[in-house]
């Protein structure tokens, strides 16, 4: 697996306590968590907290190398340009890709997915074609496909999991067929915390001549992603769920595919030459990067990845698995709580969704806030999934390695309070 190729190059030692969820050797790295010792933050699936090194990197950029990258011919601008190039290379290595030019910077994962749907979908889809996505998609990997399918007269087909959130081989073969031109799937459900079989889907996609697009917004922060081994053609994710700054998205794609796609946004920086009537696009990655980039954010993204790599990713993933299993187990122990998806505590990663009797999730969240417990409540930008499960909203607690056992115990205690508030006098 990728562990060998990626891990061997930089042998790092896990911090002491990484594998003990009662210990927390990470919290001190996160200024917000230090500043708010009362806070139980269980909403990392929405956005992660940032370590000090990331905040420092943003400052360092503006203090020491601020200039508009790519344009200037003076030293500062060259440094800014280099910072972007270094990050591109680093990200490529991080996701198991070999060519840094295949890494495109966008504003967020949503923009990356819009770019793919618009540029790739718009140029290859024809009336009668099919795009297959799972019912578990975040709206970001759903609406762009709805739009482009409607525009060209293609059909959007939904791959559906069983009650545990698992997608069977039969379902894959039934939904990905000769008419399928693009398959797009999340690699880690932001609602069910389940990991869809990306390799099986990409094998099938390639068998029928379709492209495999992966929404890695949730997976990249929590598991090793290797685009080559997992058969991914295009991958979208964001820096902010990875401990990097908000406003930086990544699109990775195979060179030949990116080269065949028309640009999404046009303007400065993305051209080779322009006449009154025409323009010649710059080669990738510039072709997809119109306008001034958030160079400081990109530089800080580099720092976020370095930080994670310095901590032994396998150990972090193990810790997050254990935290999630403990979270799911404690929730399942509460008689009035229903956990969505798999009832096996080990079968979730990072996120666990649930409902508290028939108390509205927004009330649950507001009352938890009284105990400074932060979770997400609502439809989690996955309305078709919730509708398919027969609910309109739910609560979601999600963990990252900087959480610990006490955070989950706090949530459970606070949930007992929610139940009490709603059952007084009954």
């Amino acid at each position: 697996m990728s562990q060998d190729t990626q891990g061997e190059a930089k042998a790092v030692k896990a911090r002491e306590g990484t594998l003990d969820i009662a210990a927390n050797p990470f919290k001190a790295d996160f200024p917000l968590l230090v500043k708010h010792p009362e806070l139980t933050f269980l909403d990392s699936a929405a956005t992660a907290q940032r370590p000090e090194v990331v905040l420092q990197a943003e400052r360092t950029f503006y203090e020491t190398m601020n200039a508009n990258p790519l344009r200037g011919l003076y030293k500062l601008s060259v440094e800014a340009t280099q910072a972007i190039a270094d990050t591109r290379k680093h990200i490529a290595e991080f996701i198991g890709a070999s060519d840094p030019d295949e890494v495109i910077f966008t504003r967020n994962a949503s923009e990356s997915l819009n770019l793919i749907a618009h540029s790739l979908g718009g140029s290859i889809l024809r009336k009668g074609d099919e795009v297959a996505i799972t019912i578990m998609e975040h709206h970001s990997n759903l609406i762009p496909w709805q739009q482009i399918c409607r525009h060209v007269g293609a059909t959007l087909v939904y791959i559906r999991p069983d009650a545990n959130g698992h997608i069977s081989q039969e379902e894959i073969e039934a939904k990905i067929g000769p008419k399928t031109k693009i398959v797009s799937s999340t690699q880690l459900s932001n609602v069910l915390g389940v990991i869809p079989p990306i390799k099986a889907m990409s094998d099938r996609a390639h068998e029928v001549g379709a492209y495999m697009v992966v929404d890695g917004a949730q997976s990249v922060p929590h598991m090793r992603v290797n685009v080559e081994e997992q058969g991914i053609d295009l991958l979208a994710f964001s820096a902010h769920k990875l401990g990097g700054p908000m406003g930086i998205g990544v699109l990775w794609g195979k060179r030949d595919i990116l080269e065949s796609m028309p640009p999404f946004l046009t303007g400065g920086e993305m051209i080779d030459s322009v006449t009154e009537d025409d323009a010649v696009w710059a080669p990738i990655p510039a072709k997809f990067e119109a306008g001034t980039q958030d160079a400081a954010g990109i530089f800080a993204t580099d720092a976020a990845i370095s930080y994670i790599e310095s901590l032994d990713r396998d150990a972090l993933e193990k810790r997050e698995h254990e935290l999630t299993a403990y979270l799911a187990k404690r929730l399942m122990e509460l008689p009035y709580v229903t956990v969505l998806g798999s009832q096996d505590p080990e079968d979730h990663l990072a996120a666990v969704s649930f409902n508290v009797g028939d108390v509205h999730p927004h009330d649950v969240s507001s009352i938890l806030d009284m105990s400074d417990v932060a979770i997400r409540a609502g439809h989690h930008c996955a309305q078709p999934l919730l509708t398919w499960m027969g609910i309109s909203s739910c609560c979601r607690a999600s963990v990252a390695f900087y959480n610990d056992k006490a955070d989950i115990d706090n949530l459970i205690d606070a949930l007992e309070n929610v139940w009490k508030v709603f059952n007084i006098g009954d």
């Binding site: 509205h360 439809h379 709603f422 006098g425």
Partner: protein
């Protein structure tokens, strides 16, 4: 924190034992209000008396405790109010939950509903609290009774 005093016994009483949650058979107007993003779905009914005042108000539907309790408190408040007075109270309530009206004397006009003032520190819940009030406003606007 912000929500400390909201889910208190008085508030929860409206949730557990709503006084005005029932179907009215002889209503003058009936109107549905929804918050699609949270699944709140409420049907408000009002009966206008011969004197032109609101004689009775009731609601049905489902949603979070805030949308339900707020509808219950509003139904109580609106009895014997003229449409113009009702519209003014709706506006006052909206101003309160958005934090734009803080004068205690003014807020007293909202009677029990003034306890929802803490919603002004919970911006994500403003829509929940406002649902019934917005629905009532829509009735009057659609009927051209008040604006």
């Amino acid at each position: 924190m912000a929500t400390d005093n909201l889910y208190n016994a008085q508030f929860m009483d409206h949730v557990a034992h709503p006084y005005y949650k029932y179907k009215m058979e002889d209503e003058t107007y009936s109107h549905q209000g929804v918050n699609p993003s949270c699944g709140d779905d409420l049907t408000l009914q009002i009966k206008i008396g011969d004197d032109g005042k609101i004689e009775e108000a009731s609601y049905q539907g489902h949603g979070c405790a805030i949308s339900q309790a707020s509808a219950d408190m509003m139904s109580d408040l609106m009895i014997d109010k003229t449409p113009e007075e009702a519209m003014e109270l709706c506006k006052l309530f909206g101003d309160m939950v958005r934090g734009e009206q803080k004068d205690p004397e003014e807020l007293d006009k909202l009677d029990e509903a003034s306890m929802l003032q803490s919603i002004s520190r919970m911006p994500a819940r403003v829509k929940c609290a406002e649902l019934a009030w917005r629905t009532l406003e829509e009735i009057f606007k659609e009927q051209g009774i008040a604006h």
